[in-house]
């Protein structure tokens, strides 16, 4: 044996097949789960969060993520993070792996894992290096065909162990679904505790939060720049709302909108060069664009109503926004340089907080329905709207960069929480990492 103390299968070099499958076939195995007609919580192997699966006819790929050899001695449990990522995506169902110890080299017994119901298996190892970093290795196995789908290795400091796990999740997700994973991206959000507001940057799973700004006055409407290096947000630190841009690594802030009256609702153009904002400098709340470095604003809307919450379309050609020019707030769309607006939402009498998916297909927004504030999803091509949640205080939806998940703020049992939902509304998860009043999430771009 080449490995002391490794239980399980005998390692035979001659049996290893390392054909790398670079195809992007989708292993679409239809898997019906009949159990959850009404809401139910199921504890995943990663005890830190719960995934709520509702509805029938769910297509989920069963996958086993075995504890990584050596991870019991490391600060982060790689396998649990990977499994939680994959389950939160809604496209995977974790298979029980208790009692298993594998690594990325030992070929798993196909019969055993088929019997446990797994179509795929992830195994790996974590080894402490002499310089204090960790060598993280993994391999993805196809248990249907008994094939190795590839693997990678990363050498990372302890602080990046979670990121390594998220990269593994991305690899697995892309291999098995054909879509790009967004697990190693980041989100921003605001917390409020007593008289202290903080703006946080966390991993997409809500963990690993770092404070970018602490203030005695409110912070709202944070927005990631397209490059991921800056946030724009509204701060009330000078007793009126003003817009800052903020370099995350250096902490350097730039006051870009402090015009007379209120300045709010920043939205970055896709090329990162402009911000659309709401200003009251000319009376009322109207839309303007300004250079992201600050400067003289250019007015985009000309109405006597409230025009606010501008968001650029992903191609930069249009701006969606909220206006009550028709008597009550609805979502409209106009050319990015201003011009005639066309109405987009028609159902309901109060529609706000638009967010466009990066692939341009979907519009998420909040609708007031019988006094409750509820997340809606419109397919832009057809105009068909679907209600997404069972909660009644939804706010601030934001799409993942792969357009497959939406993060939003809501209240559960009277407490503020951040949730993610799949765009079919069937799989939701509550993000952990922070307690207390938590709101205003925005999902960051792919890390470059």
């Amino acid at each position: 044996m080449w490995c002391d103390g490794c239980p399980g299968d005998t390692f035979k070099l001659s049996q290893l097949k390392f054909g790398l499958h670079k195809m992007r076939n989708i292993f679409a195995k239809i898997y019906f789960s009949f159990v959850f007609v009404c809401l139910g919580w199921s504890l995943s192997a990663a005890a830190q969060f719960r995934v709520d699966v509702s509805g029938v006819g769910l297509t989920q790929l069963p996958i086993a993520v075995a504890p990584f050899r050596g991870e019991s001695g490391t600060p982060q449990k790689i396998a649990a993070i990977v499994q939680a990522d994959l389950e939160r995506s809604g496209q995977f169902r974790g298979v029980d792996i208790t009692g298993t110890v594998l690594d990325e080299v030992v070929r798993p017994d196909v019969a055993v894992w088929r019997q446990k119901g797994a179509d795929s298996l992830v195994s790996g190892s974590v080894t402490r290096l002499a310089d204090g970093r960790y060598d993280v290795r993994f391999r993805l196995w196809d248990m249907v065909r008994g094939q190795d789908l590839g693997g990678l290795s990363y050498a990372v400091p302890a602080a990046d162990l979670r990121l390594a796990a998220h990269r593994i999740s991305d690899f697995v997700y892309e291999k098995l679904t054909g879509d790009k994973g967004a697990f190693s991206t980041r989100i921003t959000y605001v917390t409020k505790a007593a008289q202290r507001y903080q703006l946080w940057i966390a991993d997409a799973d809500g963990e690993n939060a770092q404070s970018a700004l602490a203030s005695p006055e409110p912070i709202i409407s944070p927005a990631w720049s397209p490059s991921g290096s800056q946030l724009a947000y509204v701060s009330f630190e000078s007793r009126k709302p003003v817009v800052y841009t903020h370099d995350i690594v250096s902490g350097k802030r730039r006051l870009v909108a402090n015009f007379r009256g209120s300045n709010s609702a920043p939205s970055w153009s896709p090329d990162g060069r402009m911000l659309a904002v709401t200003l009251s400098r000319d009376g009322g709340s109207q839309l303007y664009s300004i250079d992201a470095n600050g400067g003289e604003p250019r007015r985009l809307s000309q109405s006597r109503s409230i025009d606010t919450e501008p968001v650029y379309s992903p191609d930069g050609a249009s701006i969606y926004f909220v206006s009550d020019r028709g008597g009550a707030p609805q979502i409209y769309k106009m050319p990015a340089a201003g011009g005639n607006a066309e109405r987009v939402t028609f159902a309901g009498s109060y529609n706000i907080s638009p967010s466009i998916s990066p692939d341009g297909r979907w519009l998420a927004y909040i609708s007031r329905v019988s006094g409750a504030f509820k997340l809606q999803l419109m397919e832009l091509a057809s105009g068909v709207v679907t209600s997404m949640t069972e909660t009644s205080a939804d706010e601030s939806p934001s799409f993942a960069p792969n357009s497959r998940l939406i993060v939003y703020a809501t209240q559960q049992q009277g407490h503020e929480a951040l949730m993610t939902t799949t765009i079919d509304g069937k799989v939701k998860a509550r993000l952990t990492g922070q307690n207390g009043n938590i709101r205003e999430p925005d999902w960051g771009p792919y890390q470059k």
Binding site: L13, L16, R239, G283
Partner: protein, 177 residues
């Protein structure tokens, strides 16, 4: 561990993997643009303070100015920015003060109750503040002495979801600088 077997195993691993991908190690930045104080870590742990996010702390609030005219809050009905007649005398009192003290500036701060979206409520609060500003203007106050701003639903006077509490939050405050 037999190093020859190990290197053979690694060779197989790398042959099968293609290129081993190195993660971009996040640069450990100790640069901070502004003074950092972290009175409580809120469960973050010191290990991440020197990560790739600089912690910026604004510190304490600016102190409030004095209130030369005692009655300074106008209340509004739900979804409304119409000033009710009972607040007319309040506005007249502030108008008299501002016309007498042309050097004084006032900020009119509009607020809403907690129902609804943050940005839309910011705009509603702005309408309330501007209604009071207009009313002062009609009474002859110089517009240059006034700034109308909004806090939306961010600074309620009272918590509570009952109508009594919420009605106290739908307001415009006149604050002197």
């Amino acid at each position: 561990m037999n190093s020859r077997i190990l290197s053979l195993g690694v060779a197989f691993l790398l042959a099968g993997c293609g290129s081993a991908v190195k993660l971009d190690t996040v640069p450990v930045e100790d640069k901070v643009g502004m003074p950092v104080t972290q009175p409580d870590s809120e469960g973050m742990g010191n290990a991440r303070l020197k990560g790739d996010v600089a912690a910026v702390d604004i510190g304490k609030s600016a102190s409030h100015a004095t209130h030369p005219v005692e009655e300074r809050v106008v209340y509004f009905d739900y979804d409304s920015f119409v000033i009710k007649p009972k607040f007319q005398s309040l506005i007249e009192a502030h108008a008299r003060y501002l016309k007498a003290e042309k050097g004084r500036k006032a900020a009119i701060e509009g607020h809403t109750d907690e129902r609804g979206g943050r940005e839309y409520n910011l705009a509603l609060g702005q309408k309330r503040a501007e209604a009071v500003r207009s009313a002062l203007g009609y009474l002859g106050v110089d517009d240059g002495q006034l700034e109308a701003v909004s806090f939306g639903k961010e600074k309620p006077l009272t918590q509570g979801a009952d109508e009594a509490a919420m009605s106290k939050n739908r307001r415009a405050e006149i604050n002197y600088q």
